[in-house]
Subunit: 226 residues, 2 copies
């Protein structure tokens, strides 16, 4: 059974990605990164999912707060009720996906995995540069030069981004077919202490609209119950 490393934030997209890796027959190894998020609800969600599916989970700390520059790691307010327009929002974390993939590459090398799954999405996303196909391809190229296997001529890393060209509704429909327990996932940038979603940040609004468009019940617990 071939191994795969799956980057798991605990959100809807990465949970679906993990389900896809499993459905393709991989022995999935999840990697969650504590990068200085403002809250730990995502990591709790990753732990719940891995327990449910009996998937080994590594949690690596990489403190991007020391770098700053984002509403997700810095003392900058998360925007609410803002139109999702062009331009890069303040929730962009500088070089986050590059850091996440670099850590996943290290884990893949140690585990002998050649496939790294990343739940990025270039359709219903927030305009992040490191969620684009060209970025994913450039990282794959780098991976095949960066590792011990590269020197020995046997590096065949694949960066798998199966959600890249899917809308949020398509992701949710794919996940429902694979029985993803979306009630265990967490997407909100700014939850209350109990982990209930604000319903108003970009991430909540994309998620909520996704369930609506997919014609599926939204299992998210929102603040105020709406």
């Amino acid at each position: 059974m071939a191994r795969a490393v799956v980057l798991l934030s605990g959100g809807l997209d990465s949970a679906t990605c993990l389900a896809i890796a499993r459905a393709e027959g991989f022995e999935a190894h999840a990697l969650a990164v504590r990068y200085g998020q403002r809250h730990e609800h995502e990591l709790r969600a990753a732990e719940r999912l891995c327990r449910r599916w009996d998937v080994p989970l590594r949690v690596v700390s990489a403190d991007l707060r020391a770098i700053g520059g984002s509403a997700l790691t810095d003392a900058i307010d998360v925007p609410k009720d803002q139109p999702i327009g062009p331009g890069i929002p303040v929730t962009y974390v500088p070089a986050r996906n590059t850091v996440l993939l670099a850590l996943a590459l290290g884990a893949a090398e140690v585990l002998g995995a050649q496939d790294i799954f990343l739940g990025v999405n270039a359709i219903d996303y927030s305009g992040y540069p490191d969620c684009r196909p060209a970025f994913v391809e450039a990282f794959e190229r780098l991976a095949n030069l960066a590792t011990a296997a590269a020197i020995e001529g046997r590096a065949r890393y694949r960066i798998r981004a199966p959600l890249l060209q899917l809308s949020k509704a398509e992701i949710i429909r794919a996940g429902i077919r694979l029985a993803v327990p979306y009630e265990l996932t967490h997407s909100c940038y700014d939850p209350d202490p109990e982990g209930r979603a604000c319903g108003r940040c970009d991430s909540c609004r994309l998620r909520r609209q996704g369930f609506l468009d997919a014609g599926a019940p939204d299992p998210t617990r929102y603040i105020g119950g709406t």
Copy 2:
């Protein structure tokens, strides 16, 4: 004055790299990474250098111990008195330079720097895959796709590896011309608690031979004083 991010381990190579960035006229910002090294003497050396040169230093934690697979982060003995041959030694840290450059890219983005200096060297090195020119070029390509500036069409990152084609002796001669205080640097993989060098690991042996070949006095404090 253009800014540059300089990855600084506290070792001989990265100290020389920092001196080169300063000599080129950059406002240098040093980035040290606490990646789960077996000792903190390197980081102390980075702090001493930055104090001496009045360079701002960021220290970011990225705990590669959770990934493992290396004598530098794991419970694997550092080899001593071994010939430095072909093949990749156990001191190789999976994906380390990819992680370091990813963090530096985040810092560069926040600081508005376009140049990232990395003290890798493809001549007198230990056979690490992520110290090769092709790796450096692939990361530069990735950097120019991964960042907010890339979306806005103004990404011009340069990964600068000025030591890439220099022998250890050439690096030391360059550093001496730039008045690098090598007595403040630390290279040993396995020092004693006072930070004295073992003199027997790959890193010590490359360093010691470098000073010999450069015809320069070796200021390193060795265990036993030899």
